[in-house]
């Protein structure tokens, strides 16, 4: 075991996979010599050479498009889009190509590839360094979408993603890179070194894609969250004293509906929390699925606490970000409903 931040855990996952599989290549903007603007690829070029880890031109479509070609050849590219906010130029390649290669060629060509993207807000990133575009991926058949919330999960899930035979969108909440964050921006942040989940095994291990994690057991209601919102939900639960069960989804597609449904059938209540905007966000899918699977167990309407339906603002960061107070109010309302 070793103490790692989420950045180090992600770097370590790539290190482990590059070490054991020569077909794993890592590239993106500033990813090579410099080691990434968030340090997630630091040292990899030095260790594995310029043809395994390299800098790319500033062209998201080019990065994803070439990676698809490499994957079709038989490599396992693990590429980086510097911010999820900048994936849009590559969206055609992701949706029309990566996601459909296997289907449209009846398995002749496949796309074992990971696209890493720092995601989420809470860092005064403004409109183009804060977005949470997961619903734009979960809506696409053929993609898997993963959002880790801690170093241990990040490494295990990223190794699984790299080994996975299908394209995986790996969204890394950059707010969590250095330590967990519960939305209390006025308090100092605890680094991962002081957190249990900063204990990360060295070497190779995996966590299954499509398996949620119950991070707090409870009986009063079920909170469905992922990424930074896992910690916000924990704070809200602690502050309201409601005995909630908190589920960290970890993988959005494929979704662990069994764990979700079992919890809601037990608690009878459900609150969905995400940073992304409300309308047609992934919360809508979660609410619909819970309603279908647990209708007769539900004792209250399913509530969603999310970002507002606006672009992510700068000055109004904490009015936008769904913090513990807003989540706490939803928990109380759901209990009273």
């Amino acid at each position: 075991m070793a103490r790692m931040t989420m950045i180090e855990a992600i770097r370590d996952a790539m290190d482990v996979m590059m070490g054991q599989d020569e077909t794993v290549v890592v590239f993106g903007e500033d990813v090579g010599y410099f080691g990434g603007v968030f340090r997630c690829t630091a040292g990899l070029q030095q260790k594995y050479g310029k043809t395994r880890c390299f800098d790319a031109p500033i062209s998201e479509a080019g990065i994803v498009g070439t990676a698809i070609g490499m994957a079709a050849y038989g490599l396992r590219p693990c590429i980086e889009i510097q911010f999820a906010d900048y994936m849009y130029p590559a969206y055609d390649q992701i949706v029309s190509e990566a996601a459909r290669l296997r289907y449209r060629s009846n398995g002749e060509f496949t796309c074992p590839m990971v696209i890493r993207m720092p995601t989420g807000g809470g860092i005064f990133g403004g409109q183009t360094h804060s977005q949470s575009p997961e619903a734009l991926f979960t809506h696409v058949s053929g993609l898997k979408t993963v959002v880790p919330s801690n170093p241990y999960d990040a490494k295990g899930l990223l190794i699984s993603a790299i080994q996975d035979p299908d394209p995986v969108i790996f969204l890394e909440p950059k707010r969590l890179y250095n330590g967990p964050f519960d939305g209390h921006h006025d308090r100092p942040v605890t680094p991962w070194s002081k957190h249990d989940l900063g204990e990360v095994p060295t070497g190779h291990y995996t966590l299954p894609l499509g398996k949620a994690s119950v991070v707090r057991e409870g009986s009063a209601l079920t909170v469905l969250a992922y990424g930074t919102m896992v910690y916000v939900a924990q704070a809200a639960v602690a502050e309201t004293g409601i005995d909630a069960e908190i589920i960290d989804l970890r993988t959005l597609v494929p979704l662990d509906l069994d764990t979700i449904a079992a919890s809601v059938r037990k608690t009878g209540r459900c609150v969905v929390v995400h940073e992304a905007t409300l309308t047609s966000g992934f919360g809508a899918e979660l609410a619909a699925l819970v309603q279908e699977a647990c209708f007769y167990a539900l004792e209250a309407p399913i509530m969603r606490v999310t970002g507002w339906d606006t672009p992510y603002p700068h000055a109004q960061e904490w009015d936008y970000f769904p913090g513990p107070a807003r989540v706490g109010r939803a928990l109380v309302e759901t209990m009273e409903a």
């Binding site: 395994r52 498009g65 990676a67 070609g69 050849y73 055609d92 190509e97 449209r104 060629s105 898997k144």
Partner: protein
């Protein structure tokens, strides 16, 4: 220079519209044999002229002349002839089949047969093409089963793609033919990535990217050139300039650039322009570029100058936007006629042998069609299972798809 006044937008127009007299006087056609053949390791700066000329081998008389001539034997040329004739016959049969309602859609290659057929012959086993929907000659010239191609067009029970894809969107890994996408230009940059992968793995295989004149305007075209140039990827970047993108003449995509080949120069990529209706010239230039890629000398851009004689697709009527007789006026003629004349001049072919070949090829295409139709057509006979619809989205079917398949009752 005029005084500043109100600005006005320039919207290019083709020289002639329906009702007008076709006019290609603006297309400068150099004499066959006039363009030099540089060494394959030539400095791109030194061969810039090749992006503005047209490499041609066959002259008006049907003779093969100049430095790009002399690469193919009689037997090889006759084989190339048969490939082009097969593709044309295949197209004609599938066009009729579409009109008969046996499938929903078809796209033919009429006038462009030399490009994909000759290029395929210059590749080696293991090389990978990233084609558009108008390079089926790559499959025909590599001996891919016409029955399988037709089954794909018919989306029948034997369709290799299980009825999931629109007609002509073939895929055949064993034949170095990457799965075709409806989204234009996406494969251009993927080809560069495939070539980079081959280089990363110290392999000896090269990639060939394909795009039409219209699609060079897509951003993926530019991304492909940047990446190919930056990493010196072993890729041949092919642009088939058939003058038309559905109803839009090539000037709309080309803008102020003299040629599409010239696009490569700004990226430091050696760029050549070739007579796309000259089987010998296409082969010679393809061979040159493939050799460059194979020797790790980097990418080459090739513009094939040709003309889309047929409609864009079975859903298109070109008489709505261009003169009906425009293809007759096309100065580079017909690729099959030109090779035929050349072979006759060489004493390797004759009108009789041509007629005989036509009859044989028609027989073989009809036989393939009969077999393909025995497995069903789009609306009749065998078809892929509805279960196939749910397979292959992922390597392993996730729970939500299993539930949906159950709901669909299949």
């Amino acid at each position: 220079m005029s005084e500043p006044g109100p600005l006005s937008l320039h919207v290019p127009e083709p020289a002639v519209r329906p009702g007008g007299t076709p006019d290609f006087s603006n297309v400068k056609i150099p004499k066959a044999g006039a363009v030099p053949r540089p060494e394959i390791d030539a400095n791109p700066e030194d061969i810039r002229d090749l992006a503005f000329s047209i490499i041609r081998v066959l002259n008006r008389a049907g003779e093969a002349v100049g430095p790009w001539a002399g690469l193919l034997s009689d037997e090889e040329l006759i084989e190339g002839m048969r490939h082009m004739m097969t593709l044309r016959t295949f197209d004609a049969r599938m066009l009729i089949a579409q009109r008969q309602g046996k499938t929903s859609f078809y796209m033919q290659h009429l006038g462009e047969e030399a490009i994909s057929c000759a290029f395929r012959k210059a590749l080696s086993p293991g090389d990978m093409n990233f084609p558009t929907y108008r390079q089926a000659g790559l499959l025909i010239a590599d001996g891919y089963s016409m029955v399988d191609m037709m089954c794909q067009v018919y989306s029948n029970a034997r369709d290799p793609l299980k009825g999931r894809q629109l007609p002509v969107m073939y895929s055949s890994k064993p034949h170095g033919f990457f799965t075709i996408s409806g989204n234009l230009a996406t494969q251009y940059v993927q080809a560069v990535g495939w070539a980079m992968a081959s280089a990363i793995r110290n392999d000896t295989k090269i990639a060939a990217a394909w795009i039409g004149d219209g699609s060079t305007a897509e951003s993926d075209f530019h991304a492909a050139l940047v990446f190919a140039s930056t990493y010196k990827a072993p890729v041949v970047l092919n642009i088939v300039n058939n003058q038309w993108a559905i109803s839009t003449f090539q000037g709309i995509a080309r803008g102020g650039a003299g040629t599409f080949a010239a696009r490569g120069l700004g990226f430091g990529i050696p760029s050549l322009r070739v007579d796309g209706n000259d089987y010998l010239a296409v082969y010679a230039v393809a061979k040159w570029a493939i050799e460059r890629a194979r020797r790790n000398l980097g990418p080459t851009l090739i513009e094939y100058v040709t003309y889309r004689v047929g409609a864009h697709s079975t859903s298109d009527d070109p008489s709505a936007y261009r003169p009906k007789t425009e293809s007759d006026a096309w100065p580079l003629g017909d690729p099959i006629e030109r090779l035929k004349n050349h072979l006759i001049l060489r004493g390797a072919w004759s009108e009789e042998r041509h007629k005989q070949a036509e009859a044989e090829i028609l027989d073989s295409v009809i036989a393939a069609q009969k077999e393909a139709e025995s497995y069903g057509t789009l609306h009749a006979g065998g078809k892929p299972s509805a279960r196939d619809m749910f397979e292959g989205v992922y390597a392993e079917m996730p729970p939500h798809l299993r539930r949906q398949r159950q709901q669909a009752g299949v």
